[in-house]
Symmetry: C2
Subunit: 392 residues, 2 copies
């Protein structure tokens, strides 16, 4: 019996214009292939220190507790929640998309009581509803998503932060899709815990979840009655490895991913974060104009568009997956479909990090135009039906 | 005020002969720099399927539930435990080193009761003590470390597996340091859950924790009364992404690390796992002979030496850190010190994956010989004192 042969990897060259991961900056890719050292090597400790400094720059924070969790953005989410929550704690969870739902699920698994404040997917959470929930509960924290990757809505945070602190609760913010691409001021906005992911606007490979926590949050965490249920995600022990000079071993950090993250953050630092934010805003606006000129409708409330990802309605005369397959197979471009209740109904087009540029705006607009045209030509009955609709 | 400049990364070229991570095979490094695709890309799904097949080969198992957890080996440990344990469950934890202690800590954080069976560090756990613990408890599982990275002891598992199953408990095995370097038969030995890490004998970067679980274990997990406390590490939902054909999105896998793991496993498969085991055994034996010829004492019970890492006593006339610094600075070789109660008392020398070869045996023996000689010459009072001791 002959043995199966496993061939060399040969992945296609795709332009990743979906909801993340994004393409990796060539400089980050180069950093990934540098010689590995041990997780307690003096050289790696310098790398760790500089990564932390650069993360503070990216988060616009002076928080001592700032480091990358060794896992995906969802590990960052779970870490933020499980460090704060003890059995029976009430947490207000703002839900206007897929990742708000995930927060609520994790709150419950941490033994917390999730008090849900809901808005329709694609709309922001209104401050007054958060206040109402705060007034009617004994909430320890409010958890909210800054840039809902599932809908492309960008949540204003300052007013919600103010009211959260009036009620002496902590503000936990999901910045998975916003960090490094969308205006975010952790200290100025009074965010207590903020987590993100490496594979979105930082143009790094997936596998790290930057997180930062205020002293106020750390005081709550340090004064817990019980241990954090997750050993792996326990910030008070991870900080002994990442932030204290005597470096108490916790777990083996994904060393090459840390090299990559440092390089991704160095790119951000060199460009200047404000310039980066403007670039993302400029390109997403050009994309939206182009989509609308071609007769496509933006799904999300246009007053609160996230500069990193935009959601458009799938026209009712095409099939979501047909178009995405065509984009992938004919143009080597990946865009994302909808998650959860929006499956089949929207496309999510991302311009994140290195991918946020004018060339990519043109590429995706042309590819979409051609794909939609061909598609409608194929279904000529539908085409007849839609001739009075401007498609491109 | 001038802005701090962050320089390009320029890590030293180290030979990693410690307790892990090990150096990365050049083919694995190449795989890491291949084009990234999305976590739901059809190409990535093929990569996932083949990675799972190759992991089954490495674990010597037919378990359907076989996949890499997106985190370090400790995330694998936590996943193995938190999926099985519900509040109040009794778990027998075998402790003869640092990682046994960690298991006990995590069991308690999962709400379990840890029933500890202890042996001195560097000695194996005896079957009879496990039986005694089983007879005197209502244990749901026995957790034990196969290759204790902290001491280099290799634990025989077959008899402990038999008695564990006589008492209808599950056997959970930590194979972080053994997978791919030391004989390990998950199915034949009746291991119910086995987890490992990518950065040891698989010569991959750190950041993934391969795990496999038997149907017996999965039945226990599927029939839990309560949800697994960790959302991120919940095997029943991760499997929907990794193992089911309709691929329900769970979290964004660290795609490049999966490329790397597949390549590391492909190297294992090409060499043949039995050949790989023999190579590790042969080289560790040559290393031990050389160490003993130079007057160094093996810390670990020599009847149960792990073929991937060996612990030697730090001679009492030198300082642990001086020698390790000298090896690092003069030879660019990293070896590990002791963990926990063995800090300053032992060195751990690893020959893992690509690093298990004759050349490295010679290199570390010569480097150690020179470092110890110079060191003793410096401390000439001590040298006088030890002239009748054969050092090299």
């Amino acid at each position: 019996m002959s043995r199966k042969v496993y061939s060399e990897l040969n992945p296609p060259q795709r332009l990743l214009l979906g909801a993340g991961p994004t393409n990796i900056d060539p400089r980050v890719l180069k950093a990934l292939s540098l010689p590995i050292v041990e997780h307690l090597d003096p050289y790696f400790m310098e790398v760790m220190d500089e990564t932390v400094e650069l993360l503070r720059y990216a988060f616009k924070t002076n928080n001592r507790m700032t480091l990358p969790i060794s896992g995906s953005g969802s590990a960052g989410m779970e870490s933020a929640l499980c460090n704060v929550i003890e059995s029976g704690d009430e947490i207000i969870v703002c839900i206007n998309g897929f990742f708000g739902e995930r927060i609520s699920e994790i709150v419950q698994r941490c033994g917390g009581k999730s008090i849900e404040v809901r808005a329709p997917w694609g709309r922001i959470i209104e401050r007054d509803f958060v206040e109402e929930a705060l007034a009617n509960s004994n909430a320890k924290a409010v958890a909210i998503v800054h840039a809902e990757t599932s809908t492309g809505i960008l949540q204003p945070l300052k007013e919600i932060s103010n009211v959260t602190h009036e009620y002496d609760a902590l503000l936990i913010v999901d910045a998975v899709t916003s960090l490094g691409g969308c205006e975010l001021f952790v200290d100025e906005w009074g965010i207590d815990i903020c987590y993100s992911a490496s594979q979105k606007c930082l143009s790094c490979p997936p596998g790290l979840a930057p997180i930062t926590a205020s002293e106020r949050a750390m005081n709550v965490i340090r004064n817990r009655r019980t241990k954090v249920q997750s050993w792996y995600l326990d910030l008070s022990t991870i900080e002994k490895y990442w932030l204290e000079s005597n470096r108490v071993y916790h777990h083996t950090a994904p060393i090459l991913l840390v090299y990559a993250l440092r390089e991704g953050l160095r790119l951000l630092y060199e460009e200047g974060i404000e310039n980066r934010w403007m670039r993302h805003k400029r390109n997403i606006q050009a994309l939206i104009r182009g989509l609308e000129e071609r007769g496509l409708e933006i799904f999300t409330d246009k007053a609160h568009i996230c500069p990193a990802v935009v959601a458009v309605n799938v026209p009712n005369w095409v099939k979501d997956e047909d178009i995405r397959r065509r984009l992938r197979e004919e143009y080597n471009i990946a865009i994302s479909g909808g998650l959860g209740e929006l499956k089949g109904k929207i496309w999510r087009i991302g311009l994140m990090g290195v991918n946020s540029n004018e060339k990519n705006v043109t590429l995706i607009l042309n590819a979409l135009k051609n794909s939609l045209k061909i598609k409608t030509a194929e279904n000529n009955k539908n085409l007849q039906h839609h001739t009075n609709r401007k498609i491109y």
